[in-house]
Symmetry: C2
Subunit: 229 residues, 2 copies
């Protein structure tokens, strides 16, 4: 193509790393201050870019927000779910690994401010629009991952058949969110919360799994190492 260059197309299409970088920086801001704190103008200032340059990448504040939420989603599921899929964990072992990995995600500070979606969800769940829908979808997806793992554990005879998997998914999630709440207040680690998850699993488990397996994170590891498949 010759002649007059469309500057917008050049910025938007030819510098994908820069776009990635902008989204990463924007997510760091949103993770600490909330999505509400994102503005094209403010971000342009922060990144020492022109507003029109930024606008060329996204076209609207909403597109920028969409990209930020999507990046947060990918970071979260890449960290929490993908390794568990790769290891092929199933049933109650998978349920524990999901929760453990969730704590890990918050502890490692992969997003500043902890688990981005708790704040974003409580903030936006009452609103309509595409961004709230996008955030609610991520939270629902996470609930469904827990739910299905619990259901699988029922069919594997690791969790009692009478257990309501959806209800327990909510309860486990309450422990996760509550732990984040506590940690933000007292800066304690998640040792107690991990014990609470194990205690919850102990209360659901069938006799297939010895009660001693749920005594601590260490006992759970030993149980998994020693069980005969």
């Amino acid at each position: 193509m010759t002649g007059k260059i469309d500057r917008r197309a050049v910025i938007g299409d030819k510098e994908p790393n820069t776009r990635e970088e902008i989204v990463a920086r924007a997510l760091n801001i949103a993770a600490v201050k909330g999505l509400g704190a994102l503005s094209i103008g403010g971000l342009a200032k922060e990144l020492k870019m022109s507003k029109s340059g930024l606008f060329a990448h996204f076209g609207s504040k909403e597109n920028l927000e969409t990209a930020v939420v999507e990046r947060a989603r990918v970071l979260f599921f890449d960290h929490v779910l993908v390794p568990i899929e790769e290891r092929g964990l199933e049933g109650i072992e998978r349920v524990w690994a999901l929760c453990d990995s969730w704590f890990d995600f918050v502890e490692q500070g992969i997003l500043p401010g902890g688990y981005f979606f708790t704040g974003a969800y409580f903030q936006c769940a009452g609103q309509s629009g595409s961004i709230p829908r996008q955030i609610k979808r991520v939270v629902r997806d996470w609930r469904d991952v827990l739910w299905k793992a619990l259901d699988q554990a029922r069919w594997r005879d690791e969790v009692r058949m009478a257990v309501d998997a959806e209800q327990v998914a909510f309860e486990l999630n309450s422990i996760l969110i509550g732990a984040q709440w506590s940690q933000l207040m007292t800066h304690t680690d998640h040792t107690d919360a991990r014990s609470a998850i194990l205690a919850k699993l102990a209360s659901l488990a069938t006799e297939e799994i010895p009660a001693s397996a749920f005594e601590s994170v260490g006992s759970w590891k030993s149980y998994l190492d020693n069980r005969t498949e």
Copy 2:
């Protein structure tokens, strides 16, 4: 006082209802969209006031936010704590009443978007500054109210002496927050969450209280009605 009227003083001091009204409207916005969505300019537009008129009331965005958070705090404690104080409820009965009243606060939609402080807390806890401090103080005060009630229940021999009141305050709070999380997702009521609170209390109670008292909200009420003081 005669002579030149200071317009700022007139607006700021002589029209307290208007200031109240501005704060109420601003809180309704913040409760749905988050504190980050508040701006003097946006609010002026919404209230069909001049920016300078609004500014005269508050002097800064920070002062407006402070007033909004303080109003949310007063609404919350007026609804949840004050009636319990007035009824003189103590110990485990007080613990239950606090949780029940918290659900009530969310259910009655006294603030649009539910319990303002969950979103605000998760959003701001990683930030420094006077507004995050103010929000964290409210959340800590609420934790302390639960904690003290639990501790009182221990000394009244209603809850086992070995119970860690601070830890349980966190656990009860997790159930409250988790219930709000669920409710925002599935629009269910808080029946399950109330049962979860009663089950938690049952697990802590001494033999002074019959296990049947914790079976349902109805059984708890009957127990309280029939017990001999």
